[in-house]
Amino acid sequence: MDGSWFGFLAFLLVSVISVGGLIVAAKVLGVRARGKSLLKERTYECGEEAEGPAWIRFHPRYYLVALFFVLFDVEAAFFFPWAVAEKTLGWNGLASIALFTGVLLLGWWYAVKKDALRWQ
């Protein structure tokens, strides 16, 4: 197991080196513009001067999606220990996890009926 994680470190190291190599190559081989243009560094907005700051406010639907994700992903994380041990737990384990999922699905059904899952 130790050697295995050493492998992962080596893996990360090699990928960082190869990506870093490309960065260095870009820095070394890249051209530089002769004059500095103010227009060049302006934010791209289809040739127009950008209006207002780019960090704009967002629709709350993104927030809803984030909440749903937290809910369902945490539940899914609870599934994993059961999933590994499923073979030994038998029908009993299946029934108990079904109860758990049933409650979850009730919530999902409520959300669907409330139209909370629609991208407004």
């Binding site: 197991m1 050697g3 295995s4 994680w5 050493f6 492998g7 992962f8 080596a10 893996f11 990360l12 090699v14 990928s15 960082v16 190869s18 990506v19 870093g20 490309l22 960065i23 190559a25 870009a26 081989l29 890249g30 051209v31 513009a33 060049k40 560094e41 934010t43 791209y44 907005e45 950008a50 700051p53 780019a54 704009i56 967002f58 993104y62 999606v65 984030a66 749903f68 994700f69 369902f72 992903d73 899914a76 994380a77 599934f79 994993f80 999933a83 590994v84 041990a85 499923e86 073979k87 038998g90 299946l94 996890i97 999922t101 699905l105 999902w108 669907v112 899952l117 629609r118 991208w119």
Partner: protein, 321 residues
């Protein structure tokens, strides 16, 4: 130790060069599907096209837009590549050998897949560009939505094999049956679900609203020039290549195959899955944002839950032993 290190280096280099080849392969494939020829003039049958692209991208001037968060802006593109690569470390290459053999391999792979969204968000935020920010917002929303069906689809092989070790799953498939083919009811739909969710995770067509060109110019990459853009471009392909490899490990038996199990089977299956993914990509049109979310939350999540229970029930019937 030396073996592990050299294996790691080899995997990184192979994945990166395979990605370069995939760039060419995808352009050729797309061209043929549109009755075009595709890259042709650069090298024999256009084989050196990615090299020329790389050489050009390396030379381009780097521009940091005014008002951008310089540190995040510079850091995000390389991180996308590194995170996309990281999942490749867990792929079992041949019986008993992977760069990292972990008991929770499935969780880690999905975790690194999800982590790849962080630099995308960083890039969108740091660019100080509305298109980039909107693209990043959509990418993250889409990616975390499809994270749920991905986890559920990945749980099916875990339940069927009774282990979260990727090599263990492959060995189970080698001794029993490939999960993509048998049991056909939780297996094949789970495989399709996995592919769909993976496509959406890596923001490919038909799930590419984060960089819908007609709406958002180039999404998060709008402000990136030269090699910085090249990294994001590369990361997309790395993501797909690695995703295809993991899909073939979990559902198509990875290194398992007739005559001589080994690396070549893995590569062959990865290539087939990759072709299939790009086939889909160049066929289907883009889904609208609301269709995308509806598909995920109203159909794929309950379907995933159902598949999990079906596979558990399959285990209890005793037919798998």
């Amino acid at each position: 130790m030396i073996f592990a290190a050299s294996l790691a280096a080899a995997v990184v280099i192979v994945v990166l060069s395979a990605t370069a080849l995939a760039l060419w392969y995808e352009r050729k494939l797309a061209a043929r599907m549109q009755t075009r020829i595709g890259p042709q003039f650069v090298g024999p049958i256009g084989l050196f096209q990615p090299v020329a692209d790389l050489l050009k991208l390396v030379q381009k001037e780097e521009i940091v837009p005014m008002g951008a968060d310089r540190v995040l802006f510079a850091l995000a593109p390389p991180l996308t590549v590194i995170f996309a690569l990281a999942a490749a470390a867990f792929v079992p290459l041949w019986p008993g050998v992977a760069v990292v053999r972990s008991d929770v391999g499935v969780l880690l792979v999905i975790g690194f897949g999800g982590l790849a969204m962080v630099p995308v968000w960083m890039a969108g935020w740091a660019s100080f560009n509305k298109y980039a920010l909107l693209g990043a917002m959509r990418a993250v929303a889409q990616s975390i939505s499809y994270g749920v069906p991905l986890v559920l689809a990945a749980m099916v092989p875990v339940i069927l094999a009774g282990t979260m070790d990727l090599d263990g799953i492959t060995q189970f498939q080698a001794t029993h049956h490939w999960f993509g083919l048998w049991p056909i009811i939780p297996g094949l739909p789970a495989f399709i679900l996995f592919l769909l969710a993976m496509l959406a995770e890596s923001n490919r067509i038909p799930f590419d609203i984060p960089e819908a060109e007609s709406e958002l110019v180039a999404g998060v990459t709008t402000e990136y020039t030269g090699m910085q853009f090249g990294f994001v471009y590369l990361a997309e392909y790395v993501h797909t290549v690695v995703g295809a490899a993991i899909g073939s490990v979990m559902f198509l038996g990875g290194w398992d195959g007739p005559f001589a199990p080994g690396l070549h089977w893995l590569l062959l299956k990865t290539l087939c899955l990759f072709t299939f993914i790009y086939w889909i990509r160049w066929t289907l049109v883009r889904l609208r944002a609301d269709q995308l979310m509806t598909l995920c939350w109203k159909w794929l999540v309950p379907a995933g839950l159902g598949l999990v229970f079906l596979s558990a029930a399959w285990n209890q019937t005793g037919w798998s032993r």
